[in-house]
């Protein structure tokens, strides 16, 4: 019989090895799934993981990598701080949308002025928009004890509807005909968020993501606020005893996540997406949750996880086009990654032990366990 036995101290080796093992298991299980779909697993893996970086069309894909990884990392860093403290903001997608809308609206109010101040103003407004959207679940939780998981998730759907109305009515480009959407922000110099180094895909959002990683890393390892975040997640009662004020922590974590998600939305709408349109929201806010956990809620880990996830996105797209794999198979493949990560994560705090089956001593009843 195999039993799980609690480790006295969490294993450092497994803390770092579990993401690697999880990736390995995902490759195996994903390969089996692709084989069942009639695709050569090795071919699929090569298309997803190798070609985008080293293949024939890598010059195109490499740029896409940072374009995808930037917002994922930016959002995931904010979410991870909350997750560390047991604050489950899963509505980053909504904060991302509202941030993009607020920032775009603030910029478009000055159209067609040409001044360098417009873009920074839009970034600030994007951050504030995300912050405000995140404050709704935060304040409801503090004041009324509502569940922030539900409220933040529901607000995603509200945001999506606001996005749709913006695209077709109040932010719609008055000079354009055809498919409804706002003016193109990436082609208006005052609001454009261009590629900073040609061919890399790095725009201001990528810079912001890197800053966020460094900032969050210092916060968590050196600052009292970061310590309080970790303490609250590890032992809420001990945190209260230590003097952590839960309400302040909720506002900080939700607020920061909202700010970062809102900025991610703004950088996206002014750069790669270019305009507010009905299909602007592409699920970064949800995928970032996977990235946060894949990165073990650790800012540096999130940086790597974001790149890996971007690779599965870019490579997955390529696989869908070149190999005819259905898009849902790619989603399932990404889901496997999270599943295996969480499963393997058990090894950090537990170890496997093979016990000889003793026929005279079956599993103890709950009565006995409680007494020991």
């Amino acid at each position: 019989m195999i039993a799980l036995e609690r480790r006295p101290t969490p294993s450092r080796v497994w803390a770092w090895a579990s993401p690697l093992v999880a990736v390995g298991l995902t490759l195996v299980a994903g390969g089996i799934m692709f084989a069942f779909l009639g695709t050569d697993p090795l071919e699929a893996m090569r298309t997803i993981f190798w070609d985008p970086v080293f293949g024939e069309f890598a010059f195109y894909f490499r740029g896409q990598l940072l374009v995808k990884a930037g917002p994922l990392i930016l959002i995931a860093v904010g979410l991870a701080l909350g997750f560390r403290a047991g604050i489950w903001n899963i509505g980053a997608e909504g904060q991302y949308i509202v941030g993009a809308l607020c920032g775009a609206a603030a910029g478009l109010a000055f159209y067609p002025a040409e001044t360098r101040l417009i873009f920074p103003l839009m970034v600030v407004c994007g951050a504030l928009g995300g912050f405000a959207w995140a404050m709704i679940p935060a304040l409801l939780r503090i004041r009324f004890g509502t569940n922030e998981i539900l409220v933040s998730l529901m607000l995603v759907y509200v945001a999506q509807n606001i996005l749709a109305s913006a695209a077709v009515s109040w932010l719609r480009n008055p000079d354009a005909t055809g498919f409804p959407g706002s003016r193109n922000l990436s082609r208006w110099e005052a609001s454009a968020n261009p590629e900073l180094i040609a061919g890399t895909g790095a725009h201001w959002g990528v810079v912001a993501a890197l800053i966020a990683v460094v900032f969050a890393h210092i916060l968590l390892t050196r600052h009292l606020m970061g310590f309080q975040i970790k303490l609250t997640g590890a032992a809420p009662r001990a945190a209260a005893f230590a003097g952590v004020r839960p309400a302040r922590l909720v506002v900080f974590c939700m607020g920061l996540a909202g700010v970062l998600a809102g900025m991610a939305g703004l950088f996206e709408v002014t750069g790669p997406a270019g305009q507010i349109s009905i299909d602007f929201a592409s699920g970064y806010g949800f995928t970032a949750i996977i990235v946060a956990f894949l990165g073990r809620l650790n800012p540096v880990g999130i940086l790597l996880a974001g790149l890996l996830m971007a690779l599965t996105y870019v490579g997955g797209d390529a696989a869908a086009t070149n190999l005819g794999l259905p898009a849902s198979a790619i989603s399932a493949f990404q889901g496997m990654l999270l599943f295996f990560l969480l499963a393997v994560d058990v090894m950090t705090n537990f170890r496997l032990r093979v016990k000889r089956r003793d026929r005279r001593a079956p599993a103890p009843s709950p009565v006995v366990e409680a007494a020991e």
């Binding site: 005893f241 003097g243 007494a371």
Partner: protein, 504 residues
């Protein structure tokens, strides 16, 4: 009456402490036998040996004339021994019948089981609906589930560990009539408690344990509560001690402190008032669940109270949180080590920073100096002889006694003006307990005020200058410890006050 269970010369030692030393006793068939003793007297170890959870080092037991040495609870149950624990082990999301079934070796189909539960609960006057979800039940009803689970095995001996600590007076009445009925039908009951009046009302024999040894047997029906208390505590403990400077200036003044219960099973604090002087140890005694946790929470700042209720020197700290109180010099150490006083999964360094950050200069403009935190953790480890490989170790890897030394040491070494500790030596071996008590006395000798909340009467008498009893959230007037007679303690703790609790 003939003896059902006989214990001869049972001995069980743990590293550093002998829990049971040469214990011999007999439980009569159909008798209600009390096992009486302070915390740490060895009651739990003894009943765990009877229930097969602990294997004694020496001694022998017989049950119904046959040699009896259970190596696991299953064997004990098969021999007809059942036990209701102080802490319930029930699944809240499941129904009563499902919970009962889970605890059985070969549960019958659920419908039959539900019928049998109804039968048993009717027969013994334990109203219980087998279909209800355990999560919706009161503490008393949950206990009934545990009792019914035991009764379905037709036990010859039923062990009850502190059964009334979570019950309302009405529920206690119901429980007692059930136990009397069982006893009349021939089931022996071993009843563990330190509530003296309960024992006098219910039991027909009593074995008194102190320090792991049997110090007396008596018939509680004809022995006074004061006499029981005296034998439970022993005579040697009442010597007043001369030590330290005379208590002088008032450090902490608590007046009219009232708080509603924090949770469903919490105790409210009712108009608590006392003063604590510099150089003084104030002992607060009481039976578990009479407001100890709540009082600590009100003093630590986890639960703010009305203005003017908690005054340190001239400062009103009633509305201040834990951090402000620490900065002002009011430090606390809660009872629950893992999860309250310390974060189990965090290192000792992090746990040292948890309460020590402000007073030990680990904070600079909001940034933590982990070097200093590590030094402080190492200081605590050295000064309090905490046995651990180093400050990087997770708190949960430490034994209870070592973690307790760390948690107390962390506060003592912060040079508090006032230190409040709850159950400072609970579950700690004798050597560690002595070290902790000495540290508290030394702290008082240096001019700090110390409040020790404890259920260990012996401990309180050893170290307190004044003593007060906490009962149902009310604090009695503190009495100088040298004026205390054993009889008076009996009345304060187990006697007169307990009458209000138990209504027996």
């Amino acid at each position: 009456m003939t003896a059902l269970l006989t214990i001869e010369g049972l001995t069980k030692a743990y590293p550093g402490v002998v829990a049971n030393s040469d214990v011999s006793m007999q439980v009569a068939e159909g008798g209600v036998h009390a096992l009486l003793g302070e915390n740490g007297a060895g009651k739990s170890t003894l009943v765990k040996a009877i229930y097969g959870l602990v294997r004694p080092d020496a001694g022998r037991m017989t049950l119904g004339g046959r040699s009896y040495a259970p190596s696991e609870p299953r064997e004990a149950r098969a021999a007809g021994v059942a036990m209701v624990f102080q802490h319930f082990s029930l699944f809240e999301a499941l129904s009563v019948a499902e919970n009962v079934g889970l605890g059985m070796e070969n549960p019958p189909p659920l419908r039959d089981l539900a019928r049998r539960i109804s039968e048993v609960s009717r027969t013994y006057g334990l109203p219980l609906d087998p279909g209800r979800r355990v999560g919706d039940l009161s503490a008393g009803e949950r206990q009934r589930v545990e009792i019914v689970r035991c009764l379905l095995q037709d036990p010859r001996l039923l062990i009850m560990d502190e059964p009334t600590s979570v019950l309302t007076p009405q529920e206690v009445d119901t429980l007692f009539s059930t136990l009397r009925k069982l006893s009349a039908e021939g089931t022996a009951i071993l009843y563990i408690s330190h509530k003296l009046e309960e024992i006098r009302a219910l039991c027909d024999a009593a074995t008194i344990l102190r320090g792991g040894k049997v110090v007396g047997e008596c018939d509680p029906r004809t022995t006074s509560a004061a006499e029981l208390a005296e034998r439970m505590v022993g005579m040697t403990l009442t010597q007043p001690k001369g030590r330290g400077p005379e208590p002088d200036g008032v450090l902490l003044r608590v007046t009219g402190l009232s708080l509603p219960p924090a949770s469903q099973f919490g105790t409210p604090l009712r108009d608590i008032g006392f003063v604590l002087r510099a150089g003084e140890v104030l002992g607060i005694g009481g039976v578990a669940g009479n407001g100890q946790d709540e009082l600590l929470g009100a003093l630590s700042g986890e639960r703010p109270s009305a203005k003017g209720t908690v005054m340190l020197g001239g400062t009103d700290l009633s509305r201040a949180g834990p951090t402000l109180r620490r900065q002002a010099g009011l430090l606390t150490a809660p009872e629950e080590r893992l999860g309250h006083a310390a974060a189990p999964d965090m290192s000792l360094t992090e746990n040292a920073a948890m309460t020590g950050a402000a007073r030990k200069g680990m904070l600079r403009r909001g940034f933590l100096d982990w070097g200093r935190a590590k030094l402080f953790a190492q200081d605590v480890i050295d000064a309090f002889d905490v046995r651990t490989p180093g400050p990087h170790v997770a708190a949960r890897a430490l034994s209870g006694g070592n973690l307790q030394k760390f948690v107390i040491g962390r506060e003592v070494l912060q040079d508090p003006k006032v230190l409040v500790v709850n159950q400072p030596t609970w579950g700690v071996d004798a050597a560690a307990a002595a070290a902790i008590r000495q540290a508290l006395l030394d702290l008082a000798a240096q001019g700090a005020g110390v409040i020790v909340i404890s259920q260990d009467l012996e401990e309180l008498l050893q170290i307190s200058d004044r003593f007060a009893a906490l009962n149902e959230g009310r604090l009695g007037a503190p009495v100088p410890a040298q004026d205390l007679t054993v009889e008076r303690i009996g009345l304060m703790l187990g006697g007169a006050h307990d009458m209000e609790v138990a209504h027996v």
